[in-house]
Symmetry: C2
Subunit: 214 residues, 2 copies
DNA sequence: GAATTAATTAAACGTCCGTTTTATTAATTG
DNA sequence: CAATTAATAAAACGGACGTTTAATTAATTC
């Protein structure tokens, strides 16, 4: 056997990425074999090497593109408005929606860092740090303007990111709550956590506008 | 070669546990081999089978004991006082201290669930759920007494747990902040997040007492 | 329609894995 | 000090792993 009827490089590569994300998210990178991923796609393991030079390179590609998409989504969602509270609202809403829509890819990006080589790890961490810096800047601006109560910008940023990323651990799209309901609750918690100075009605108006814009 | 001079079962078993926690936390369960762990202890791989019947059983033992210790620590720290805000304070302070002191074991317990068999997984999840229920009860009692503002008990509990467990991701004991300083900041964030009804001075008094008691 | 390029299979390579078996020595017991 | 038990080493087992090589067929190009 050799090239199969109807085979197409583009489609095969996309299928490999999908299979890899699903399998690695469920079983972990080290536990998943090239043969398993190939079987999911419906090809032999050797065929994967036409698209990715090594197993680790496949992992690194998945993580890099996930982080680049996250940055791009935030760039597109970032409000023209420079009010720190509005920016914080947009950041949290965008973050939750992005991660809930990509539960499996997020799991891979968060759990498999230790399987990367030094260079690949540095690469991914740089993207992550750049993204997290956005939140720190918002918190610092808000604190400077007297609109937020933030004891320690770095700690608060980490606390918020862990809180809102953690949604993917328990959230299932087909259960009790919708993404918008979850986002609203987490926004309320974030605003209280940061002591955001804005009356309740204003905040609700802004949140609703934020959610409708998506 | 055979039994070595000065060999002792108790010491060897403890050394295996330590080596396993360190190596699995750093490289992941699937990536660590029985031979690596044995080398860290200074024995051959076959010697591990005198203490643990399989690799997975070793993992499960580490996780089970970690969860049992967590429950025991909370039982000991639980305040006689039934004020929900005081209980929340104790819960957060105990949780952070416990996890910071056991960074590696916590990493193992949080990251390697997917490597467990059905039965072992069920076992660990039961322990985890029981522990998390403690926090939900505190939040519900606080909300019922009008002392906390909690929109959704389940969501708030998950948010708080992810926030305070996330400390181990970035905290390094030899850096800028002490455990007590980090705990104080996270307690302040928790109190704001739950809209705890208590004036600042009272809260500080209680937090200080909490910290001094450890 | 021949030549070229793209996509894939089949088979193999050397290595490492979790685990078992067997033998051997150290420590303890009576 | 003989008998027993505890703790280990050494070697092997079958299987799976990531990856490479070579051959083969489908699609495209000229």
């Amino acid at each position: 056997m050799a090239r199969t009827a109807g085979s197409d490089g583009g489609r095969t590569e996309a299928a490999i990425r999908d299979a890899a994300v699903q399998l690695i998210a469920r079983h972990g990178y080290e536990a998943v074999t090239m043969r398993q991923m190939a079987a999911e796609v419906g090809v032999q393991a050797a065929a994967l090497y036409r698209y990715f030079p090594t197993k680790e390179d496949l992992l690194h590609t998945l993580m890099r593109e996930h982080m680049e998409e996250l940055a791009a989504t935030w760039d597109a969602a970032r409000p023209a408005n420079d009010d720190p509270v509005a920016r914080l609202t947009s950041f949290v809403a965008n973050h939750i929606r992005f991660h809930v829509e990509r539960r499996h890819a997020t799991h891979v990006s968060n759990m498999e860092l230790r399987s990367l080589s030094r260079d690949n790890l540095t690469n991914i961490l740089k993207l992550r740090t750049t993204y997290e810096k956005e939140l720190r800047t918002i918190l610092r601006d808000g604190a400077d303007a007297g609109l937020l109560e933030v004891d320690d910008t770095g700690l608060t940023a980490m606390a918020i990111i862990q809180m809102i990323t953690g949604v993917i651990v328990w959230f299932r799209p087909d259960e009790r709550l919708s993404v918008d309901e979850v986002t609203a609750t987490y926004l309320a918690m974030t605003m209280r956590l940061t002591g955001a100075k804005t009356n309740t009605e204003d905040r609700h108006v802004r949140q609703d506008a934020e959610l409708r814009a998506r």
